[in-house]
């Protein structure tokens, strides 16, 4: 985790509020059931451009009122998946079901799915108020009803004072709020947000994350939030779908994604880690001995694994420590490395060990530790049970 800021702290508090979310308040629940089911099912959806399979046989389900993050590196197909759900792109195969209805061949304007675009896509010829009113006018909502609905949406995103401004005269954060208000005012079954905060500076981004999260929870809106920023995904969502090359590698709660990454890709992409390449020497009673550049280490693979298999070992940095005088070798791994860098991060210290190739050694010690010298030999240890092991695809 990076240096903590107050906004970050607020975000984690919000994250801790998960419990509250599970026993959600009664009004939110009744409001939702009154409107009808708003869950999303994506079944076997694929999309190719030329030879490139951008979205590859994806399956997933988003429950009503859930805020799901779609996390993955740029170019992995997040935007394309969002467009498939919104009806802006036709899938090659597969089905999109919203609230129980198959909408695969329904055009975007009849899906009731709002999109907040990466560039916001505000209408430059309309002012703030008319941008927000656009969806209501398109739906032929009664003139008299539009005004109060727009006013409410604008006050929700705290933009009431700027209602008559031209959208070009707004800052990035303000434009972002207008885009959210415009998407929410039509009471969509599903809200899709495509990297909505990527253009904002860090402070504003963190504040907006907290705001958006509570706004969506308040209204019980089902939403998919696209991001390539793993911290943002961890901070914002109920569940995270980690995408890589058109596929979902893992779909789980943030805590699980961090503690038990399903693949080496997820280990690398979410959070920091020590990561060592190796080869399995022997397997005995679900304990694999792995030869690495740092000597033999032990892991407990969940699945069957053969000796000779090339693997990646992973450890979260806060699970490592400076090795005590005596170690129980059967339950503990250890390695000795030369200290390459020490980063004092206030409440914690990151110690980077010297490593070759794409090996990486990173240990997080709590508190500011100033007793470690660069270039010194350092022995680190961690429990065998916390050692993650992944087969390297041939």
């Amino acid at each position: 985790m990076p240096p903590g800021s107050t906004a970050r702290a607020a975000a984690s508090v919000a994250l801790d509020g998960e419990a509250r979310e599970k026993t959600e308040d009664a009004p939110a629940r009744s409001r939702r059931s009154a409107i009808g089911a708003r869950h999303l099912d994506v079944i076997g959806i694929s999309k190719s451009y030329k030879r490139l399979k951008v979205v590859d046989e994806l399956n997933f389900r988003v429950a009503e009122g859930e805020l799901v993050s779609l996390l993955g590196p740029s170019g992995c197909g997040k935007t394309t998946l969002l467009r498939l759900i919104a009806g802006l792109t036709e899938p090659d195969t597969g089905t999109v079901v919203i609230g129980g209805a198959d909408v695969t061949h329904r055009p975007a304007h009849r899906r009731n799915v709002s999109v907040v675009f990466q560039n916001y896509a505000l209408f430059p010829h309309l002012n703030v108020r008319d941008n927000v009113a656009f969806g209501l006018r398109a739906r032929r909502v009664d003139r008299q009803k539009i005004r109060p609905m727009v006013d409410e949406a604008l006050s929700l995103v705290r933009m009431s004072e700027l209602a008559d401004r031209s959208v070009a005269a707004l800052s990035g954060g303000q434009q972002q709020r207008v885009a959210v208000a415009r998407a929410l005012v039509v009471e969509p079954n599903l809200l899709l947000l495509d990297e909505p905060f990527s253009a904002l500076d860090r402070k504003l981004r963190e504040a907006m994350q907290v705001e958006l999260k509570s706004l969506l929870r308040q209204r019980g809106i089902t939403a998919i939030f696209v991001t390539h920023d793993q911290e943002e995904a961890l901070a914002v969502s109920n569940r995270i779908a980690v995408m890589n090359a058109g596929r979902i590698e893992q779909f789980a709660a943030p805590g699980e994604i961090y503690a038990a990454p399903a693949s080496a890709f997820v280990l690398d992409f979410v959070g920091l880690s020590t990561r060592l390449n190796g080869t399995v020497l022997s397997v005995e009673r679900q304990t694999a001995v792995v030869e690495t550049r740092f000597g033999q280490l032990v892991a407990q693979p969940k699945a069957q694994i053969e000796p000779g298999t090339r693997v990646v070992l992973g450890v979260r940095p806060e699970l490592m420590q400076r090795a005590p005088e005596s170690i129980d070798r059967t339950a503990t791994n250890s390695l000795t490395t030369r200290v390459a860098d020490v980063m004092l991060l206030g409440s914690k210290t990151h110690v980077h060990g010297a490593a070759e190739g794409d090996d990486r050694v990173l240990c997080e010690l709590s508190g500011p530790v100033e007793t470690i010298e660069l270039g010194a030999e350092l022995e680190l240890s961690w429990p065998v049970a916390d050692t993650l092991i992944y087969e390297v695809a041939a």
């Binding site: 799915v113 896509a121 070009a168 415009r182 998407a183």
Partner: protein, 289 residues
């Protein structure tokens, strides 16, 4: 001039900006070849034979109902030409902007190549199409739609169709330029907000491409109102336009003052159209700031 930027120091006299100097040759050329002769012509339209101030030429022009018929016809033809060109050009500009690779190059070439074929050549080519035993009449007869050939050549309709053809690129290109700049996620955003294709077109696409429509229309109208060769070749002397009246005044009547005053009237209309359209374009764009 009050904003102090760290990157760019505003010159003390903004009208002497270095970049303005780049326009100097062009401005000088225009002054010499365009503005000066035009000013002399305007002056002439207010002078009688002896060089004294006189509105006689204007009085003569507006006093003759025939001239008013011609003026009205010129305006009508220009307006209809502009409309026809617009109807054809708008979808064409879209196709041009959305096409990719080779298709776009071909479309663009198809749009610009006809400019290199002189109007005279085109006009004679049309006569093959439009005349009584021309391709169009023969086809209609063969289809059994008509019994006797209909007169197409030497009619206002033929003139409008022909003129719209010649001026089409001047309508397409400004619209094309605007559509190319159009953010494609805007109609998509509209769709995701529940807007039908019609609603999207009239509330998003059309308003945002209006500056191109205005510019193209101003171009086309200005060209159509002052065209001389096309009407001379297609409709001839039977149905004169303002430009033909001007030519007649100078070449046959040798009445410089009348010619000048008609020219001044034509110029006034063109200037009004250009100023009006840029005002309109400014207003349309104004809501965007």
């Amino acid at each position: 001039m009050s904003v102090v930027s760290t990157r760019y120091e505003a010159p003390r006299a903004p009208w002497l900006d270095r970049f303005v100097l780049l326009a100097a040759p062009g401005l000088m050329y225009l002054a010499l070849v365009f503005a000066l002769p035009l000013a002399l012509l305007l002056l002439k339209s207010f002078q009688n034979q002896d060089g004294a101030f006189s509105l006689a030429a204007y009085a003569e022009f507006f006093g003759d109902p025939y001239n008013l018929t011609v003026l009205w016809r010129t305006l009508r033809v220009a307006l209809l030409t502009t409309l026809l060109a617009l109807i054809i050009a708008y979808p064409t500009a879209f196709a041009l902007a959305r096409a990719q690779g080779l298709a776009q190059s071909l479309l663009l070439a198809a749009m610009i190549l006809p400019l290199s074929v002189g109007v005279v050549v085109k006009a004679f080519a049309w006569s093959i199409l439009f005349r009584s035993n021309g391709v169009l009449n023969d086809t209609l007869k063969w289809l059994g739609l008509i019994e006797k050939p209909i007169r197409m050549l030497f009619t206002e309709t033929a003139l409008i169709i022909g003129a719209a053809n010649v001026f089409l690129p001047f309508m397409v290109l400004p619209i094309y330029a605007v559509i190319r700049q159009l953010d494609r996620s805007l109609p998509e955003a509209a769709a995701s907000l529940g807007a039908s294709p019609m609603f999207r077109f009239f509330r998003v696409t059309l308003p945002l491409t209006l500056p191109g429509v205005i510019a193209g229309s101003a171009f086309t109208f200005s060209l159509a109102i002052s065209m001389y060769v096309i009407p001379s070749l297609i409709v001839g002397e039977r149905q004169q336009t303002l430009s033909m009246l001007i030519a007649r005044s100078y070449l046959f009547l040798r009445d410089d003052q009348l010619g000048s005053s008609i020219s001044a009237i034509l110029l006034a209309i063109a200037v009004a159209v250009v100023l009006g359209s840029s005002w309109l374009a400014g207003r349309v764009a104004g809501g965007r700031r």
